[in-house]
């Protein structure tokens, strides 16, 4: 009826507009631009990375000769690669373990109502809000070889020798132990990088944990109170099971952000000393861009993929669970 009443000078555009009112047309039409864009800038390069990893492409070209899985077996045979893989796993899982413990404690107290909460929250959020590269530069200064504030403080507290004993560090060349070369000794650098990762991911996890707490219905709290569940009992039987799915989602995010991170290692140690702190992203950069072996670099970065697949699948599973509770 409306169509008949409307003026007749735009029949084409009217039909077009009618079609646009239909969800089955409108929804894909609105989603399509974003999807097409993502296919072009994520899907295509990703497929290309897989293709490159199967060729002997070198810097300056976008293709090469087919070599099958040679790149994957070649890079695997390299000790530096295996160390990079091991480091990636260590940094990722140790830092996330620290993050979970920290976030569980912090979120439990931050939801309380107390004076100065705004300030505390601001301070806690800082590491997440600051650009990673920039805060990592500050860490490099904190862990500087000569002017390290950590060494200065440890010396003032007379803890430096205790720490050396605990970590068993000496300088190979000189036999000297002080000052502690936080970024210059392999084991110290591994500790430093792990801690910096934990430091920067913690605020994000806290935020997700707090959101998880907020999503627990108040009826549950009330029911727990009526049933007499308090303290540890309530934590174990009520809070933890309800928070577990969302906590896991936070952890899985942390894993993805840490395992794929290039900046922290690159800025702190550049992969050194002598490639002992390389991770897959920095090693892929070293081989693919700086040495120009594009195919091998792509293969190295693709070794990250199985980890991401597993993590993503787990995330989907737990996100669905979280939705149900």
């Amino acid at each position: 009826m409306e169509a008949e009443a409307a003026p007749r000078w735009q029949p084409g555009s009217r039909r077009w507009r009618r079609a646009f009112e239909d969800r089955r047309v409108l929804a894909p039409a609105l989603i399509a631009p974003a999807v097409v864009f993502m296919v072009l800038v994520v899907g295509v390069p990703f497929g290309w990375a897989i293709y490159l990893s199967l060729t002997d492409a070198i810097g300056g070209s976008l293709s090469g000769h087919w070599v099958g899985f040679d790149n994957f077996t070649n890079v695997w045979a390299d000790d530096n690669f295996r160390r990079a893989l091991r480091n990636t796993l260590i940094f990722t899982f140790v830092s996330q373990a620290l993050v979970v413990i920290g976030a569980a404690i912090l979120s439990a107290f931050l939801v309380r109502d107390f004076r100065g909460r705004w300030l505390i929250r601001f301070l806690v959020i800082l590491p997440w809000a600051a650009p990673v590269v920039l805060s990592t530069i500050t860490w490099r200064w904190i862990l500087d070889s000569l002017y390290s504030v950590t060494n200065w403080s440890l010396a003032k507290l007379h803890l430096d020798h205790a720490l050396i004993w605990l970590l068993g560090v000496t300088h190979l060349e000189t036999g000297a132990q002080l000052p502690l070369q936080w970024l210059g000794r392999p084991n110290l650098a591994l500790i430093a990088i792990t801690l910096v990762h934990a430091w920067r991911i913690l605020p994000f996890a806290v935020v997700i944990f707090i959101a998880g707490r907020a999503s627990i219905p108040t009826e549950v709290e009330d029911a727990a109170k009526i049933d007499g569940a308090t303290g540890v009992k309530k934590l174990w039987y009520v809070d933890l099971p309800l928070q577990l799915p969302i906590a896991l989602v936070a952890v899985l995010f942390g894993i993805v952000f840490t395992a794929g991170d290039f900046a922290v290692v690159y800025i702190l140690t550049g992969g050194g000393p002598s490639n002992t702190t390389q991770v897959l992203p920095t090693w892929a950069f070293q081989v693919g861009i700086q040495s120009g072996s594009l195919g091998e670099g792509a293969a190295i970065s693709l070794y990250l993929f199985p980890l991401l697949i597993v993590v993503t699948a787990a995330m989907l599973f737990f996100a669905r669970r979280a939705q149900v509770t």
């Binding site: 409108l26 929804a27 990703f46 301070l123 959020i125 809000a129 920039l134 500050t138 200065w152 991170d261």
Partner: protein, 287 residues
Amino acid sequence: MTARQKGLTYLVLGPFAIVLAFPFYFALVTMFKTNLDLSIATHSPYVYNDSNGHFHWDFWNYSTTEHVQFLFNGTEYPTWLENTLIVGGAVVAITLVLAMPAGYALARLAGAWGQSAGVAIFLVYLVPPTLLFLPLSRLVTQLHLKDSLWSLILVYPSFTVPFATWLLMGFFKTIPPELEEAALVDGASRLKALYRVVLPVSLPGILTVVIFAFALCVNEFIYAFTFISTSEHRTVSAGIPNELIRGDVFFWQALLAATLIPSIPLALLYNAFLDRFIKGFTGGAFR
């Protein structure tokens, strides 16, 4: 809360807050240090000292702004800030154009498969740039975009669009559908209802997306580092470590000033929009 509980709260949160915020305090102190004060390893690094290593309460007399001045007058830092703003602004604009319709459609029109499609789009955000930077850097070279800000403007939406679509989907879900249905009954078209009714109501959510998408652009390192090669086209994240660190010579005061200055406004914005961010970020998945 009892006094004991309150005490415990401060006792636990205090040390955490100090450790988490320490690098920022430390950067703040160091950026105003004199060269002499900085270069004597026995001087306390926490405060400003006189030439004998003593602290005085009128510490401003023992500190200097010369390194901050050098940063702004003697380096290309202002250019990098400007480049960061240009790239961030352009990327946010592209992101909104692509993500707003998609987020709305997924939340409202797509029905049952909207949630799954939303999750699928979000997964794209989890593909780390480290998997893509090798082919993309070759591609950027082939398109003659190497060393141009356009390369970053083209590539950054690859992570901001999925991220923003997810957030916006969460926000649009919180808006009652009755609102636009009323407009539809009044004879407005879907797009008009979207533009006239939904958009104004969801402005806070959109602003949240603007801020967090912009922050993602400032954060990005590996693309900015591999695509751009000359100093005057750098953004802050790539410019500071590449141009201000020369060999073994570190201009630490200027360097730390450079890292702290972009971090503070971002931190304030994060705090102001945090609650909304949580709502949008978890709104898609967790009720």
